[in-house]
Assembly symmetry: C2
Homo-oligomer: 333 residues x 2
């Protein structure tokens, strides 16, 4: 094994990858130190298992020049964000890596260090993995495993006319961060630049808040493709219409300082995607419980619209007219 | 939605992909018709959850000219083979697809029809999925979900000196099938050609046999990288040496008719990979139980070697000398 240290710049065999990833799988018996074919999970009594598989692809969800530590964290957090929106507690994850030739050991080590940091922050462990060579872009598929008490999963289906529409955090920062990295948006103040790029690279899954929404939210979704697109999923499966007031979309001071807060900025923000906030609906009488959850979990929440009879999710201008959108969110094809 | 039918040759939006894959997710409440963020699994009482994530990459694990229906089935069966080797009953799977531009609707429909066929054969259901565009090769990541009665998982760790080494089915057919498809091996008889290619494209996971091995096998692994490489995993984690007699490796009549049964053919077969057989160890007194399982599940089993003190997995020639191998199996990097 010592001969491995003689070629630290090149990706070695499985053993080398095992050396990098096996430390992420310690302390959980069912991970078998990544030295078995499968992972074993013992479900706690009275809990259902929540599973989400999500791919992060170079050139689609991250840029080759992104720091490898944030690439690992973003891959993980995207899947955790789905668990958060459903009120699930994360427990473990599996990792499938497709790696092109340019990936070297330092890249992988930094990638793994980002995962290690997030494992500590979110109380989860790597339990299984697979690594393959690819002729294409880096492709990282995370399957996140969580638990919810039986019958408490917050679904997309369940929004009713009369419900209020809420969203956590800020919308549009990640899209602006990507625009800066892509050279489409100039940003003079360093602090704004860094905050927006950080929103793109390391979104924060609102796990504690999501769990607090159990029994309170009538429907919830994580905002990945775009606020309007994802609320559209709730509208479609709930059989309702969701109206969002453009002026109530929460924009960060950084974003407003850079782009202003005009309607065009709000449309961009509501359709950019990559926010990983929780958008949810709840009846008006739940508002005190939502405010309590907001304070207890330090998660800002904004009321942005309402559920009405009809179909689809729409963005309204200040006079209450529907804004014609060129697109409702990020489309993959 | 009807406008979608006007462009049947092109990959459309999510809705179109949903139309193709949603029918694979019917009949299981926790799949939510693929219209929620996550999948929900209710574990049966007294069972542990077995998870395996595995990627199938164009140009690595399958060829672009492989029929799309076999591509989907191979992706699924590779993960099911891992569950089989561990004695798990498969229940469900999640699918993450990274699709390049050349993939069209007919390809996806045929891909999905292969999955549908295997779902019926293996009693499993699609419960969650994700589709992204990629600039690289088709990358299909399956996360298989299964169950085992508590404490019955057949591990890689557990082989002891004195144990016999067994393998199911035939070794080397898939490697020969790939060689034929790649033009490295000429095959005149159509029946041989088709059988060998079929072994490469649609391996058969020995699920019933794997379940019968619970409490009988001391260790087991699925043969994906190569017989010797995968037995090496058992040897490493069990702290033993595994000796395989080259002459006892089960070769198919098709393979022997094409390449003979010389030592070089046996070395190729034992290191080619993609077999998806179960290699396992068991004490000699388990032999009657293994023969019974063999008959009950119609799964041929061959004793191919022994566990001894020492380390590593080795191939022995007819005189009992270790054969120096250039490689022990497929290496990804």
């Amino acid at each position: 094994m010592t001969s491995k240290t003689e070629r630290p710049r090149r990706l070695g065999e499985f053993e080398l990858i095992g050396r990098i990833f096996a430390p992420l799988a310690t302390g959980v018996p069912g991970a078998f130190d990544l030295a078995d074919d499968v992972a074993l999970i013992a479900p706690p009594p009275g809990r259902e298992i929540v599973l989400k598989t999500d791919s992060l692809i170079e050139g689609v969800h991250f840029r080759r020049d992104d720091p490898p530590s944030t690439v690992g964290r973003k891959a993980l957090r995207r899947a955790l964000s789905d668990l958060a929106a459903k009120g699930a507690e994360p427990s473990a994850y599996l990792l499938a890596l497709a790696l092109p030739q340019w990936i070297d050991v330092p890249w992988l080590e930094e990638f793994a260090s980002g995962l290690a940091s997030d494992q500590a922050d979110f109380g989860i462990t790597l339990v299984g993995g697979e690594t393959d060579a690819t002729s294409g872009p880096v492709t990282i598929t995370v399957t996140a495993v969580g638990f919810v008490p039986e019958g408490t999963l917050v679904r997309r289906k369940g929004a009713s006319p009369g419900d209020i529409v809420f969203v956590t955090g800020l919308i549009g920062d990640a899209g602006a961060g990507l625009a800066i990295l892509s050279g489409f948006l100039a940003s003079s103040p360093t602090s704004a630049r860094e905050a927006l790029i950080s929103s793109f690279r390391t979104p924060i899954p609102h796990l504690a808040f999501g769990q607090a929404l159990r029994g309170i939210a009538s429907a919830a979704v994580d905002v990945s493709d775009g606020l309007i697109a994802d609320l559209g999923h709730i509208a479609d499966v709930s059989g309702v219409r969701i109206e969002v007031d453009a002026v109530r979309i929460p924009l960060s001071p950084h974003l407003q300082g850079l782009k202003g807060s005009g309607l065009d900025v709000r449309i961009d923000a509501a359709t950019a995607g990559d926010d990983y906030e929780i958008a949810f609906t709840a009846p008006p009488e739940s508002t005190p419980a939502i405010r309590k959850a907001e304070l207890q979990t330090f998660t800002p929440v904004t009321a942005i619209g309402r559920v009405v009879p009809g179909e689809g999710a729409v963005l309204l201008d200040p006079s209450g007219r529907e804004i014609a959108l060129e697109r409702r969110g990020y489309t993959h094809f």
